[in-house]
């Protein structure tokens, strides 16, 4: 019965979403507040109904209701509780329902508590946010309904895809979905601003939503990278896969939008930029959904083609077409708002402008690379695939330029004093940072010419970021001595500023990890004979045993490899290979020896008939832990800036 109610809830949600959008529009037309309040109530109820639908589906997973097709396809009775919960979004239908619920929840919060400076735009924003929810519920109900019942319930479910049996999968998809839905708020307010001709003075009010989107997408991407590193067994963490790129694209635009919002808060213009970026960010989330769910783009991460592609493509065309028409109709208002955007390049505004431009060229590069196979096949009948090397070569110089800007930007003030500030404060810091990092790189024997350029930029950006972070604490120490309360007050009052610098510090650390892994890669397939030590990648590996274990739904082959570095025994690692005969899938689980400088990464590839020889893929990932440390630092910085109360202290940051 509950499953049938779930189905009815979808139908009811669809009607309610259409009503909410219509009632909000009617309240604007008639200026009758009662319709506005009714639309608001409908928006809250919509979130509640879709939440109830998600709860019913979750209940079906937890109580093994295999008569529900979606549950039978993605769960089994012996699945641990946390995996049954994550199975909710393991497939197309459940993940879309969850996305729709988050979209409705986001609309309810944005409509219920609009930012003070953007309150006048809230009724129109309510129309657009409810239309977006209506789109999701329509798509779910017509094409991706998770409440479809089987004619006869199977005794057991098919189980969860083994690749998704990782703790990261509990948080990775929800984090991405929170990011996607958060970007719908700036988009809805942008359209509202264009319609009401109020194009200036509100983007900064939506900063918490933009920051939430940036933070969630960042967390989702980082978890996805860790999942790829731990589970996929190819030794890397980022393969420039179109689906990975689908998450990266809105994150890049959200980064640009955050910087644009800072400029707008400081009364430095950037209105037009922000309007365009808000539309682009939301359009890219739709593009991501299209890429993942249409089957048009080949990827290990993509869902199977289920006819959803046409829905998302239509939504993308309507979104972009509607926004372009609105921009054309309201060009006078947009031009008025953009009137203050003249500034020399050698200034804070100028460096922000360059940052935004670079982030956009990066977005365009990644988008072109992702679409290249499909586009070239469509236009020329031959597929040209942009490889990871293509992406590295095209985006590498742009990332480097961004790093340089990150070093320069905090040193520049207003245009009139920029050169003087740079000469007095900047050069010694930049030179010292660059020299120190390059010397450390030489000492560690890292002498690849491109990496030295990278380390120079890392040193410059790192030195400036550290100086900015430590500067406030130093002045406080000089004025008040070492007093914890003063330092705490300083941190509380400048939370946004320090959050931003912490993010920059995270980017610097991540850059070190990227330089190490991309420019000093080591990966080799080796055959190891039992009990015969073999030298590879600076380690001595000895194959000891290969154990065979049988589980209810799979069998495991687990090798024991003794690892020696120099004369000392470093570890015994157990790479394994799991075979799932039921679904015809082999999963390799790598074994890792973590180190500060490098990880040793072993993947079991195969063995001979008498198991006396095994084949291993051995990868040594140099400086990779800087990548994870940098990612965590970046998210901590974002969280510090996002923490409630940071907004109140906004004025003190300027």
């Amino acid at each position: 019965m509950l499953i049938e109610i779930g189905d009815s809830l979808l139908m009811l949600s669809l009607m309610l979403a259409v009503y909410a959008a219509g009632a909000a529009g009617w309240s604007i037309h008639t200026r009758d507040e009662r319709w506005g309040r009714s639309a608001q109530n409908a928006t809250y109820t919509l979130a509640g109904l879709l939440g109830l639908a998600v709860a019913i589906l979750l209940g079906a997973f937890l109580s093994n209701h295999f008569e529900v097709r979606y549950v039978a396809q993605h769960s089994a009775s012996d699945l641990p509780l946390y995996l049954k919960m994550s199975a909710l979004w393991a497939g197309q239908e459940g993940s879309l329902l969850f996305w729709g619920f988050l979209q409705a929840l986001c609309a309810a919060i944005a409509v219920g508590r609009p930012p003070r400076q953007a309150r006048a735009l809230a009724p129109w924003a309510a129309v657009f946010l409810n239309l977006i929810t209506a789109f999701f519920v329509t798509t779910i109900y017509l094409q991706s309904n998770p409440f479809i019942l089987l004619a006869a319930a199977p005794p057991e479910g098919q189980g969860l895809n083994p690749l998704l049996r990782h703790p990261g999968m509990i948080f990775h998809p929800p984090a991405l979905y929170v990011g996607f839905v958060s970007l719908s708020v700036p988009f809805a307010f942008t359209l509202a601003a264009l319609l009401t001709r109020r194009v200036a003075g509100w983007t900064s009010a939506l900063r918490p939503w933009i920051l939430l989107a940036w933070l969630s997408l960042g967390a989702g991407l980082l978890l996805g990278m860790r999942w790829a590193y731990d589970v996929l067994g190819w030794g890397g963490y980022w393969g420039w896969d179109p689906v990975e790129n689908a998450g990266l694209l809105p994150w890049l635009v959200a980064t640009a939008l955050l910087h644009g919002a800072v400029m707008q808060t400081e009364q430095q213009g950037f209105h037009l930029w922000n309007l365009l970026l808000a539309v682009a960010a939301f359009a890219l989330t739709l593009f991501g959904a299209f890429a993942t769910r249409s089957g048009a783009i080949e990827s290990v991460h993509a869902f199977a083609d289920s006819g959803l592609g046409s829905y998302f493509l239509t939504a993308l065309v309507v979104t972009l077409g509607g926004a372009i028409i609105l921009f054309i109709i309201r060009r006078d208002a947009v031009r008025e708002g953009a009137a203050r955007e003249d500034a020399p390049l050698l200034s804070r505004q100028g460096s922000f402008f360059l940052t935004l431009t670079l982030l956009m060229t990066l977005t365009a590069s990644v988008l072109v690379g992702s679409l290249l196979p499909a586009l070239t096949e469509l236009l020329f009948g031959r597929r040209f695939v942009a490889t990871a090397d293509w992406f590295d070569r095209v985006t590498g110089p742009q990332w480097a330029a961004l790093l340089l800007l990150m070093g320069l930007c905090p040193l520049l003030g207003q245009a009139a004093t920029a050169l003087r500030r740079l000469r007095r404060r900047g050069w010694p810091l930049l030179v010292a940072g660059a020299l120190a990092t390059v010397l450390i790189a030489f000492a560690l024997d890292l002498r690849h010419p491109v990496s030295l350029v990278g380390f120079t930029l890392v040193g410059m950006a790192g030195a400036v970021t550290l100086a900015e972070l430590a500067g406030g604490a130093y002045h406080s120490f000089r004025a008040h001595g070492l007093r914890f309360t003063v330092l705490r007050q300083l941190l509380r009052h400048r939370r946004r500023l320090y959050g931003g610098y912490l993010v920059h510090a995270g980017v610097v650390l991540m850059a070190i990890g990227v330089i190490g892994t991309r420019l000093y890669p080591f990966s080799q397939d080796v055959a190891l004979t039992q009990d015969r030590p073999t030298q590879v990648g600076g380690y001595t590996l000895t194959y000891e045993t290969l154990r065979h274990e049988i589980w209810p739904d799979h069998e495991t082959f687990r090798a024991a490899i003794s690892v020696t570095r120099g004369q000392a025994h470093a570890a015994t690692l157990h790479p394994r290979l799991e075979r799932y005969p039921g679904i015809g899938q082999n999963v390799t689980t790598p074994a890792l020896r973590y180190g500060v400088n490098e990880d040793l990464y072993l993947v079991l590839m195969g063995w001979n008939a008498d198991q006396s020889v095994i084949t291993l893929r051995v990868a040594v990932n140099l400086l990779i832990n800087f990548l994870w440390l940098g990612g965590a630092t970046m998210l901590a910085g974002g969280l510090l800036a996002f923490w409630p109360g940071a907004e109140k202290n906004m004025a003190m940051d300027q």
Binding site: M1, E4, I5, S8, L9, L12, L16, Y19, E33, R34, W35, R37, S38, N41, A42, T45, L49
Partner: protein, 51 residues
């Protein structure tokens, strides 16, 4: 669809409709005031016609 499902769905629809239509509901005190005003007006009119 079973009768239980139908009943539950109707109950949900009723609750949702009541909540969504709430802003259009006339407050009870406003209704009382409207009746009192009407009585007062009628009384005034009848007094005027008598005089």
């Amino acid at each position: 669809m079973s009768p239980g499902t139908l009943l539950c769905t109707f109950a949900i629809v009723a609750v949702v409709a009541a909540y969504v239509a709430r802003p259009f509901r006339r407050a009870p005190d406003a209704l009382d005031r409207a009746i009192e005003n009407w009585i007062a007006r009628e009384a005034q009119l009848s007094k005027e016609s008598e005089s």
